[in-house]
């Protein structure tokens, strides 16, 4: 599988990573190499094989729907880039 410049632009958009024009060619090459290596999987017959997400096929544990954590908003917001009145500040989204 090789990637063209549009593919890289689309991936960058999906991943929310800005990529400079200079970096695109190198990424095409590197990601192409990785996908070529990965593509050796395609030759394997996996019909009727159940996909494995957890080595023991364990499923998510559930707990009672009760409050189990203390409020630590101030501690957590003290390390945020920008907050005000308990809210995280970001650039204006709506004009």
């Amino acid at each position: 599988m090789s990637l063209d410049q549009n593919d890289i632009a689309k991936l960058a958009r999906l991943a929310r990573i800005h990529i400079t024009d200079d970096a695109v060619v190198d990424l095409q090459q590197r990601l192409g190499d990785i996908l070529k290596m990965v593509d050796t999987m395609q030759a394997v017959d996996t019909q009727n094989i159940e996909p494995m997400a957890n080595p023991y096929d364990a499923v998510q544990r559930l707990r009672a729907d009760v409050v189990s954590e203390a409020d630590q908003r101030e501690a957590f917001q003290s390390i945020a880039p920008n907050t005000e009145d308990g809210l995280y500040l970001v650039p204006k989204v709506i004009d």
Binding site: L3, V38, T40, M41, I49, P51
Partner: protein, 488 residues
């Protein structure tokens, strides 16, 4: 003192040969004097360490010493440490002071451990050479022109250089075992779910597992005892009793069957490493074990499978770094989109960005079935190979790495070549199994690692087999050049 093992240190502390404060100061002095040359620490925490050491000494005086009371160790800078910068070797988290402790940190602290500092790693644990760190590469104490391996390269180098008697590490595709092999240490990756992932910065959540990096198997048993156990705060933690790992170290290996996968000795394996592994297996025969050839037919699929699953999980996990709640934020964002995309462009290094993009590709509409689902199916086939093998044998043995430590810069420009260095370790993470790397010789002055792979949750069996080999070999007690300097 620098050559002391954890077991020797605990005896020395108990007998009063030295106090924790003296010991801690010794290691802090060693770090100050010698870490400049190897760069194994990102953050050293002298004040915290001495405060914890004094508290440990006071507890001992009162007869309230915990199991590891006063033992100084280093934490890989992927474990959250409350009040201490936890960077994951990324510019993204350069300013991140963790507001809470990882369970591993909490449990070790509760046993009395002293934290010397936080060790260097590949950025977000993505690498096999420690060259992707934002804080610069780590050098191998055995040969300063070579890498220490990765991603837990700082932990490995610190212990090998005598700057800490033990360190924590994490292993997603070999990140404890490969640097342990390249630095001449014992490194244990426990079974998936054995050690809590809570507070361990996530890379690939279905593969990540924390474990100890030490000089000996006996030390690894002592550390694992304090780290292992069920944790409600990790949704994939397994509620399985933790045995006494030290109690079975002395058990005989008589009659144990050790499987040798023929695929692990094929083309690409360094000839001297192959010889060293065969020599180690001969020792196992003398210890009473039976060596049986086995096959793990999907060995070559492990790297391709991993390089879909791990980047896919990483792309999801690392979506949290958005410049809003914590960590790096770009200067003067024009709008929200600019905030996200430029923060992530500037905050992540090249390898991390590559993996996020590969993972994004594997999860994107139209490619999900061909990549992500396909890799999950192959993951099951790989695990099935191990399940079959363990019907015939008790343990599986082989080399940890195909090559010894390589030179800085040698492989960093070619990601695929670097990825293939992990061919023997990656399948173990996919299968969720425990495995240990132990020193088994040298080639050209560089350490060689023997990997032992165990059944699900049989860390005790691995530690026993590793310890028995260390009773009849002395590779693990060799010190890297300079590691014994500054002793008292």
């Amino acid at each position: 003192m620098p050559s002391y093992t954890v077991a020797e240190i605990l005896r020395g502390l108990e007998s009063g040969e030295f106090s924790s404060e003296e010991l801690t100061q010794h290691y802090l002095d060693a770090i100050a004097a010698r870490d400049g040359a190897i760069n194994s620490f990102i953050t050293v925490t002298p004040e915290l360490a001495l405060e914890q050491a004094r508290r440990a000494d006071a507890l001992r005086a009162k007869g309230e010493a915990g199991a590891l009371n006063g033992l100084p160790i280093a934490h890989k800078d992927i474990f959250c440490t409350e009040g201490v910068r936890t960077s994951c070797a990324s510019k993204m988290l350069d300013n991140f002071v963790a507001p809470y402790n990882a369970t591993v940190v909490e449990k070790l602290a509760a046993s009395g451990v002293v934290c010397l500092g936080k060790t260097n790693l590949d950025e977000f644990a993505m690498g096999s050479s420690n060259e992707t760190s934002y804080y610069g590469p780590v050098r191998n104490p055995w040969n300063n022109e070579c890498v220490p391996g990765g991603s837990s390269g700082g932990s490995a180098a610190a212990v090998a250089a005598g700057l800490a008697p033990a360190a924590t590490g994490t292993d997603t595709g070999g990140s404890i075992r490969q640097p342990a092999a390249l630095c001449g240490l014992t490194g244990l990756k426990p079974s998936y779910g054995r050690v809590s992932r809570y507070g361990m910065i996530a890379f690939a959540s279905s593969l990540d597992q924390g474990g100890p990096m030490t000089r000996t198997a006996e030390d690894a048993a002592i550390l694992l005892q304090a780290m292992a156990g069920f944790d409600l705060r990790d949704s994939t933690s397994m509620d399985i009793p933790v045995p006494n790992y030290s109690a079975t170290l002395g058990d005989s290996l008589q009659g144990k069957k050790i499987g040798i996968p023929k695929e692990y000795f094929s083309a690409g394996l360094d000839a001297n490493i192959a010889d060293a592994i065969h020599a180690a297996l001969d020792e196992y025969k003398k210890l009473g074990a039976e060596i049986v050839e086995i096959s793990l037919p999907r060995t070559e699929l492990a790297v391709p499978c991993y390089y879909v699953l791990a980047p896919a999980e990483a792309s999801t996990n690392l979506s949290r770094y958005d410049g809003v709640r914590y960590g790096y934020r770009c200067e003067d964002p024009k709008d929200l989109d600019d905030l996200y995309t430029r923060t992530r462009e500037e905050g992540f290094g090249e390898e991390v960005k590559r993996r996020i993009l590969v993972g994004t590709y594997a999860l994107s509409a139209g490619f999900y079935d061909a990549y992500y689902r396909k890799a999950q199916q192959i993951r099951r086939l790989i695990r099935n190979d191990f399940v079959e093998a363990f019907k015939q044998v008790d343990l599986i043995a082989g080399p940890t790495t195909p090559n010894p430590a390589f030179k800085l810069g040698e492989k960093v420009s070619d990601p695929v070549t670097m990825y293939l260095e992990d061919i023997y370790t990656i399948a173990v993470n996919l299968a969720g199994l425990p495995a240990i790397s132990i020193p088994a010789g040298f080639t050209g002055g560089k350490p060689i690692g023997l990997q032992l792979i165990g059944r699900d949750f049989d860390e005790a069996g691995l530690l026993n087999a590793a310890h028995q080999y260390q009773q009849v070999s002395d590779w693990h007690s060799q010190l890297a050049p300079g590691a014994a300097e500054g002793g008292q």
